[in-house]
């Protein structure tokens, strides 16, 4: 078992994103640090476009994540609907 993580700036853009990630990944945990939030999860973390869109009420492009992204760990696979980090490859 290895941990993957993703960290974002703490701001109004990322609040619904973080909520979506935590809802979609019940095994993930949230770590709040000064000005940043880090989400840790065993093995895999999946970010879903639709979950974010439900919360923000508009279309969302997963590449927008990059604007507020701080760091990631794990292998990344990104397509139109999901942004996946894992150590399972």
């Amino acid at each position: 078992m290895s941990t993957v993580f993703i960290a974002f700036q703490t701001n109004e853009d990322t609040r619904p994103i973080v909520e979506s990630i935590l809802a979609d990944n019940p095994h993930a945990s949230l770590e709040e640090q000064p000005a940043m939030v880090k989400i840790n999860a065993e093995d895999q973390l999946v970010i879903r476009r639709e979950s974010i869109e439900e919360r923000i009420g508009r279309d969302f492009d997963l590449q927008e994540l990059q604007v507020n992204l701080i760091t990631i760990s794990g292998h990344l696979d990104e397509d139109d609907d999901t942004f996946t980090l894992s150590w399972k490859n």
């Binding site: 000005a35 990059q66 992204l69 990344l76 990104e78 150590w87």
Partner: protein, 517 residues
């Protein structure tokens, strides 16, 4: 952010295929090996460049769009900072030593990274890495520029910012540490560059530099640094991914690549860890309000995260670098040993240092229960006693530097924290000194390269580091004063923070900001 996501004509994967692979062409006027002459001499075998894929699948059109958004955010905050006396919002002007170190030591590396990735992008025959390197090259020059721009706000008020990011990196003794790291990488071939910077620095180590640093800047009220830092950091996830893809690609292309890649990982892990010892002092000593200790950051970002990475790479036959055993010992000592050296040499530096307060030493004891009280508290106590008598101690000779990492010989033997570690190699009848088994190993593997190192202390003693026209035989000649003049270090920039003009100005201005008068 109020950004409109537009309905796409092409899916992400399709768009990526068209806008990377689809842009490549076969050369006809010249054979490929003449167009890409650096692609083979390092011994890395590549059979199919199309196997390289950027997992972000970022294309230039999207790149410009998101980078523009990042810049808009950044400059909005910089305006606010300048308009609202942001320079008085920091916890204490001592904190600025960390920022000065960043501006003079790290920002020039961003510029070197810009050049290096431009070169790597030029030299790789595959279009996937070429496009990714192009974006990273543009990112890196953006980082250098935004850092210099953001920190220029401090230059209006505080000492030590005037020489900026370009002059001192080639002159000041402690800045040759980060400089030599990038010089070493840039003078290697494109594949080694990718392991050195893309993998070792960006993937394995960057979290230790940027994440705790920026979080620490936020904790200390430094709106300027947080903003450029996070703006730069938002590019880093892409850089880390490029580094990781690169290493997987090399290992998957040919089994013969494994020993070459392993050698580079071992070398650059150790080189990077040595450079980061500067960051260890920042986290444990320079931040008035601390986020976490260096040791804690090391455990989270190197041991746990690096551990996960090396577990994953094990399937290719990659082993954890040998130096990790030494690092497990060093994490308890490194920040204290280096800060003691900086404290006793800050009369020859472009920033202030200070002795930790009683409360800070208690924090250090709690964070380093195995080492601080036993080895380091007594030394700080001794320095404090002297300072209280008006005899603040500064060492009046310059230390010997390691031929490889260029850090003064100040770190101790792995099995004895009271004995300085020296290693010696001989090459072509000359002796060369290194600070550790790790650096000696690197030297012995490529002595022809490292004997060319420009070591500031050697150069200083040879008389090469004075302003033009200096006469060292003149009455009252002071070599240190002349060296500092050559570095553009002003007397107000150096020495202890206690009694500095930064300290006095900060107190006066902050006082003026909260009352009329």
């Amino acid at each position: 952010m109020d950004m409109q996501a537009t309905k796409k004509k092409l899916g992400l994967k399709e768009k990526y295929a068209h806008m990377t692979r689809g842009l490549d062409w076969e050369t006809t006027y010249q054979p490929k090996e003449k167009v890409f002459p650096q692609a083979t001499f390092e011994g890395i075998k590549v059979h199919d460049w199309d196997k390289w894929e950027d997992p972000f699948r970022l294309t230039m059109d999207a790149y410009w769009k998101y980078q523009a958004e990042k810049e808009r955010k950044l400059y909005a905050v910089l305006d606010a900072f300048a308009q609202n006396n942001g320079h008085l919002g920091i916890t204490d002007a001592r904190y600025l030593s960390a920022v000065k170190l960043f501006l003079t030591g790290i920002s020039p590396l961003e510029y070197m990274a810009h050049r290096g990735f431009a070169a790597a992008g030029r030299n790789f025959p595959g279009v996937g890495p070429r496009v990714a390197c192009l974006m990273q090259s543009i990112d890196e020059v953006r980082h250098a520029q935004t850092q210099i721009h953001a920190l220029s706000n401090y230059n209006k008020f505080y000492e030590g910012f005037h020489a900026g990011a370009s002059h001192q990196i080639e002159r000041l003794w402690y800045l040759s540490v980060p400089k030599s790291f990038f010089d070493d990488a840039f003078s290697a071939g494109p594949f080694e560059w990718m392991i050195a910077i893309g993998f070792s620095f960006e993937y394995v180590l960057t979290n230790l530099l940027f994440v705790p640093f920026m979080s620490g800047a936020a904790y200390n009220g430094d709106m300027a640094t947080v903003t450029f830092g996070f703006s730069a950091q938002s590019d880093e996830a892409r850089h880390m991914t490029l580094g990781l893809e690169c290493i997987k690609f090399m290992l998957e292309q040919d089994p013969d690549n494994l020993p070459i890649v392993q050698k580079w990982i071992d070398k650059w892990a150790w080189r990077g860890i040595r450079v980061l010892s500067l960051v260890s002092t920042m986290m444990d000593y320079m931040l008035p309000k601390r986020v976490m200790s260096w040791k804690e950051a090391w455990e989270i970002y190197f041991e746990q995260n690096g551990g996960a990475l090396f577990n994953d790479l094990a399937k290719y036959g990659i082993k954890v670098p040998d130096c990790i055993a030494q690092c497990t010992v060093d994490k308890e000592h490194q920040s204290h040993q280096l800060w003691l050296t900086l404290c006793t040499h800050s009369h020859a530096m472009g920033l202030h240092t200070w002795l930790p307060s009683a409360e800070e030493m208690d924090w250090l004891s709690a964070k380093y229960p195995n080492t601080f009280d036993q080895y380091y508290r007594p030394r700080f106590d001794e320095l404090r006693q002297r300072a209280d008598k008006g005899e603040r101690f500064f060492a009046n000779t310059l230390p010997m530097l390691c031929q490889v990492c260029q850090i003064p010989m100040l770190f101790t033997e792995p099995d004895d924290p009271t004995k300085i570690c020296y290693r010696e190699s001989e090459f072509q009848g000359e002796k060369y000194h290194t600070c550790s088994d790790g650096c000696k190993h690197i030297f012995d593997d490529e002595p022809e390269k490292y004997i060319q190192a420009w070591l500031p202390v050697h150069q200083l003693y040879q008389g090469n580091c004075w302003p033009e026209g200096t006469d060292p035989t003149a009455e009252g000649f002071n070599p240190l004063a002349k060296y500092l003049e050559w570095c553009h270090v002003d007397g107000k920039d150096t020495g202890d923070y206690e009694g500095s003009s930064d300290q006095a100005n900060f107190a006066a201005w902050r006082g003026a900001a909260t009352q009329n008068g």
